[in-house]
C-alpha cells in the first residue's frame, strides 16, 4: 500500500484515540493490581499511593494460605467450562434453526426466547430456587450448571450471525445429498468459529464471575465457586481490601488467558474460513 500523507494523519489520529481510550480502560485495572500489593496503612491513605514503596507480595501468599483458593478455581473452571460447551452447542443449534430453517411459529418462538431476557433475575430468583429444591438439586452441580444454560443471549447472537452468512454454502451441501443435520455439523459449525469463540468468551466470563445464584443455591464448601469464596473475605468487621484485590487479580488471570487464547479464532475472517473448508 502506498503510504500517503492522508494515511499517515489517519494513523496518528487512530493511535491517539486508541491510547486515550486505553489509558481510561486500563487505569482501574492498574489500581486493582497495586491495591493488591499494598500494606495496611496505604489503602485509604490520601493522597493515594500510586506505587507501593514496599510491594506486599505476601498478600498473594496469604490468599492461598488462608482459603482453599485452588479448590475454588478448579471447581469454577469445571462449572464454567461445562456450561460454555453445552451452551455453545445448543445455542448454535437454536440460532441456526431460527435463522435458516422454515417451520411454523418460527417468529413466535424467537420472540418467546428473546422475551426470557426481559425478566429481571431478582424477580425469578426465589421461585427458581423453589423449583431447584423441588427437583432435589439443591447444593449440587446440576443446580449450578443446568439453569445457566438456556440463556437467550447466545441464541440471539448466533441467529443474527447465521442471518448474515451466504445461502450458497448450504445449498451446495444439500445438493450433494447432505441432510440438514449433516450440513449443520459439517459446513455451518466450522465456519461459525469466530462467533463461537466470542460466545465462548462471554459464557466463560459470565459464569466465572457468577455470584448471586451460586451463593443462593449451594451451601457446602465443596460446591463453592470462586466469587462466592472471595466474598467470604468481606466480613462483618472490616473488608481486607488488599486480600480481596489480590484474590480478584488471581481470579482475573484465567479469564484473560481464555480471551488471549481465543483471540486468534475471533479475528479470523468468517468468509475466509468458509472458503478454506
Amino acid at each position: 500500500m502506498i503510504k500517503s500523507k492522508g494515511n499517515r494523519i489517519y494513523q496518528v489520529v487512530r493511535y491517539t484515540i486508541m491510547i486515550v481510550l486505553g489509558i481510561i480502560m486500563v487505569f482501574p485495572l492498574y489500581w486493582i493490581c497495586i491495591t493488591s500489593l499494598k500494606s495496611s496503612g496505604e489503602i485509604f491513605s490520601n493522597p493515594p499511593v500510586f506505587l507501593p514503596s514496599n510491594p506486599e507480595w505476601g498478600n498473594f501468599i496469604e490468599v492461598f494460605k488462608q482459603l482453599p483458593f485452588l479448590k475454588w478455581i478448579i471447581n469454577t473452571f469445571f462449572v464454567s467450562i461445562v456450561i460454555t460447551v453445552i451452551a455453545l452447542l445448543t445455542h448454535s443449534m437454536s440460532g441456526y434453526a431460527l435463522a435458516r430453517l422454515n417451520f411454523k411459529g418460527r417468529n413466535k418462538i424467537f420472540i418467546f426466547m428473546i422475551s426470557t431476557l426481559m425478566i429481571p433475575f431478582a424477580s425469578i430468583m426465589v421461585p427458581l430456587f423453589i423449583i431447584i429444591r423441588q427437583l432435589g438439586w439443591y447444593d449440587s452441580y446440576l443446580a449450578l450448571i443446568v439453569p445457566a444454560i438456556p440463556n437467550a443471549f447466545g441464541i440471539f447472537l448466533m441467529r443474527q450471525f447465521y442471518l448474515g452468512i451466504p445461502k450458497e454454502l448450504e445449498e451446495a451441501s444439500r445438493l450433494d445429498g447432505c441432510s440438514i443435520v449433516g450440513t449443520f455439523f459439517k459446513i455451518i459449525l466450522p465456519i461459525s468459529k469466530p462467533m463461537l469463540a466470542a460466545l465462548a468468551v462471554f459464557f466463560f466470563i459470565a459464569n466465572w464471575n457468577s455470584f448471586l445464584w451460586p451463593m443462593i443455591v449451594t451451601s457446602s464448601e465443596s460446591m463453592k465457586l470462586i466469587q462466592v469464596g472471595i466474598a467470604s473475605y468481606a466480613g462483618d468487621y472490616y473488608n481486607p481490601w488488599a486480600y480481596i484485590m489480590a484474590a480478584n487479580t488471581v481470579a482475573l488471570i484465567p479469564t484473560l488467558f481464555i480471551f488471549i487464547f481465543l483471540q486468534k479464532q475471533l479475528m479470523t475472517s468468517i468468509t475466509m474460513s468458509g472458503i478454506k473448508s
Binding site: I130, I216, S219, Y237
Partner: protein
C-alpha cells in the same frame, strides 16, 4: 377473580415444603474472627452425639439480605441460624423461632445483661441466645489530636470544632455512615437517644421522630455533612471499617467495638482514643449495642437437638468467652465477662465495657420503619430537605404503618 384465586392457591402449594432431611444445619455469615472457633465446638459436639451438625458459612453482605429470605420463603430454612436484631421480629411474628422457655433456667436468663436479654425476649418468651454485645462509639486519632493540641471532644460543638480543625483537602473530620441502608439507621440511634429523641413511643402506637428532640439529632447529621462539610458523603467511606481511621482517611470515626481488635492487630503502632457519643451539651452519654442471636427453627425436625446444642454451646462450653475475646466484643453473659480478663484488661475494650453500662440494645424495628429513617437521612444529607420537613414526612408514614401493625414488639 375466582379463577385467579384458585390458580393462586395451587401455585402456593408449590411453596410448602419441608426442611430437608440429613444433617442438622447451622447457618451464619462467614467471618474470619469466629468461624474456626465455632467449627471446633461443632466438631466436639459431633464426636459426642449421633446426629451431626453442619456449619454453613455465607458471605456477610448476602446472608440476611438474600440467602436467608430465599431459604425461608421456600419453606426450607436451616435448623439453627444466626440472626440480627433488625430481622428478629419478622421471624418471630411468622412463628419461625422455637421457644427456649422450657430449656433455660431463670438463673441462666438472669446471667444475661439487660441489653442482651431484651434482644431475645418477645411477648414474654425467650427465643434464642444472644452472642455478643457490640456498642458504638467515636474513635479518634490520638497522634493527630496531640499534634493539633486538641482535647477529646465532649459536646457536639466540640466535635464539629475538632473535625473542622483536623479536616484538610485530603483528610475528613469525622466519618459518619453515608450509605443508605439499615446500618446507617443503626449509627443514627445513639445521637437520637442522647438528645432524648425517639423513633416511636414505647407502646408502638405513635411516631416521635418529629419531636423537637428528634429533629435536633437529625440536624446533627445535616450539619456534619452539609454545614461544616466534615463528613464524607460517598463510598469508599464506610463507618464500620476502622482501617479508614488508621490509614489517615479521617481524624474521627463512629465505629463499633470490633474496631479495637482490628486496630490492635493490624495497626499496632496506631494510637487511638475512644469517646462515648455525647448529647448536644455533653450532659448525657449514649450508645447502641448491636450483636447477633442464635435461634432455632421451630419447624425443624431436629428442633430439640438444636436447642440442646445451643444451650450446651453457650452455657456449658467456653465458646462465648473464646469467641468474644477473639472478636473483641462484650460477651452477653455477666459470668463470662467477669472471667474474661483479656477483655477487662485491654484498655480499648474496657472503655467499651464502661460504655455498655448506658448503651441501649439495637431496636428491633420492622423494615418499614427503618426505611423511613433511611429516607430521612438521605433527604437531609443529599436532598436539601430540612430536618423538620423530612421528619414530618416520615412521621406520617410511620403512623400509618403502626396503625396496621399487629405483630410483637
Amino acid at each position: 377473580m375466582k379463577k385467579a384465586g384458585i390458580i393462586f392457591l395451587v401455585a402456593m402449594l408449590l411453596f410448602t415444603g419441608t426442611v430437608l432431611a440429613g444433617k442438622i444445619t447451622l447457618w451464619k455469615y462467614a467471618s474470619v474472627v469466629n468461624d474456626a472457633i465455632l467449627q471446633g465446638y461443632v466438631d466436639q459436639w459431633n464426636s459426642e452425639n449421633e446426629n451431626e451438625i453442619e456449619l454453613v458459612l455465607i458471605p456477610f453482605a448476602q446472608y440476611t439480605s438474600t440467602k436467608l429470605p430465599a431459604a425461608f420463603s421456600s419453606g426450607m430454612g436451616p435448623d439453627m441460624f444466626w440472626i440480627s436484631p433488625g430481622d428478629f421480629l419478622r421471624y418471630a411474628n411468622a412463628g419461625i423461632f422455637a421457644e427456649f422457655d422450657n430449656y433455660i433456667s431463670q438463673e441462666q436468663i438472669d446471667d444475661m445483661f439487660d441489653a442482651a436479654k431484651e434482644k431475645v425476649t418477645a411477648g414474654g418468651h425467650i427465643y434464642g441466645i444472644p452472642i455478643g454485645l457490640e456498642p458504638l462509639a467515636i474513635f479518634y486519632n490520638k497522634t493527630l489530636f496531640n499534634e493539633y493540641g486538641l482535647e477529646a471532644p465532649k459536646t457536639w460543638e466540640e466535635i464539629f470544632d475538632a473535625a473542622e480543625a483536623l479536616k484538610t483537602g485530603e483528610r475528613w473530620g469525622i466519618i459518619l455512615d453515608p450509605v443508605p441502608g439499615s446500618y446507617q439507621a443503626f449509627t443514627f440511634y445513639p445521637w437520637l437517644w442522647a438528645e432524648d429523641g425517639k423513633v416511636i413511643n414505647d407502646s408502638w402506637t405513635e411516631s416521635e421522630i418529629n419531636s423537637a428532640n428528634s429533629i435536633e439529632a437529625i440536624d446533627f447529621f445535616n450539619k456534619a455533612f452539609n454545614e461544616y462539610e466534615v463528613s464524607p458523603k460517598t463510598l469508599p467511606a464506610v463507618s464500620s471499617n476502622i482501617a479508614m481511621l488508621a490509614d489517615g482517611f479521617a481524624a474521627m470515626q463512629e465505629c463499633g467495638i470490633w474496631g479495637v481488635k482490628v486496630l490492635q492487630n493490624s495497626y499496632p503502632d496506631f494510637e487511638f482514643g475512644i469517646i462515648p457519643i455525647p448529647s448536644k451539651d455533653g450532659s448525657k452519654l449514649m450508645s447502641v449495642a448491636g450483636g447477633w442471636i442464635q435461634v432455632v427453627n421451630d419447624g425443624s425436625k431436629y428442633r430439640e437437638e438444636a436447642i440442646n446444642f445451643t444451650m450446651w454451646l453457650f452455657y456449658e462450653t467456653d465458646f462465648l468467652k473464646v469467641t468474644s475475646v477473639s472478636a473483641g466484643v462484650i460477651p452477653t453473659l455477666k459470668s463470662v465477662l467477669a472471667e474474661a480478663t483479656e477483655i477487662l484488661e485491654n484498655p480499648g475494650l474496657a472503655k467499651f465495657a464502661e460504655i455498655m453500662e448506658f448503651a441501649k440494645p439495637e431496636p428491633r424495628f420492622p423494615p418499614e420503619i427503618v426505611k423511613t429513617l433511611q429516607d430521612i437521612l438521605q433527604a437531609v444529607i443529599f436532598g436539601g430537605i430540612s430536618p423538620e420537613e423530612a421528619a414530618n414526612n416520615a412521621a406520617k408514614e410511620i403512623d400509618s404503618f403502626l396503625s396496621g401493625y399487629k405483630g410483637l414488639h
